[in-house]
Symmetry: C2
Subunit: 110 residues, 2 copies
Amino acid sequence: METEALDAVDGEQLLAHAADIEIASRSLKAMSHPLRLKILCTLGSREVCVQGIVDNVGTSQSNISQHLAILRDKGILSSRKDANKVFYRIGDERTLRLIGMMQEVFCSTD
Amino acid sequence: METEALDAVDGEQLLAHAADIEIASRSLKAMSHPLRLKILCTLGSREVCVQGIVDNVGTSQSNISQHLAILRDKGILSSRKDANKVFYRIGDERTLRLIGMMQEVFCSTD
DNA sequence: TAAGTGTATTACCAAACGTTAATATAAGAA
DNA sequence: TTCTTATATTAACGTTTGGTAATACACTTA
């Protein structure tokens, strides 16, 4: 890890490309809602069905379903149907990495 | 009927504490607007005055000032006044780390 | 002092967001 | 078939957000 990237020199800046900014802010926005972040943290790298997410996150089934739809539509989650259950997982590698990084940054005692 | 997928790895969940979730989502939300993310990337670890940010980010002075206020009020930016100019910098260490991480994740190595 | 430059604030409006409640769909069980 | 569980969708409504335009404030210089 080099700190040189942060020491922007004379006009140099991070995430310089407009497309990168758009993609990154889109992902951040998707993760920035407490319930959605909690969903993502509940999932981590495993697969959990909707009811499992509801039990863990703690709001109504309808509310969870709508947040899952947002994450799914943005390409962050992917799902698999088994019988009458639907299992979700984080299908976007970058998001998975970001969640891990969030833990490094925001969890003090680990 | 049981949520075995969840029970199987009961203890394994990222950002487990409610307080961490709140703090993290708050920071993410602040960064999740394209203009604000661009401001943060413009700053990096250096100090830039408002007009410099306006020139680099590219919207109205009023709009930039409002986004700066949001970031300042959330404790992400700190500022210093010199004559009639105001210089901003990222004053929150965690945000600085996150921005660096965003670069790792979202910037294709070119 | 007046004029000019740099920054912040306000008011207004439209659009996006988030929650609840109700309903719909799908699949397994009886 | 009918009942029950699991998940998704829709409508409605209040809240928040974001942008523009206008204006106010702060400081500097002539």
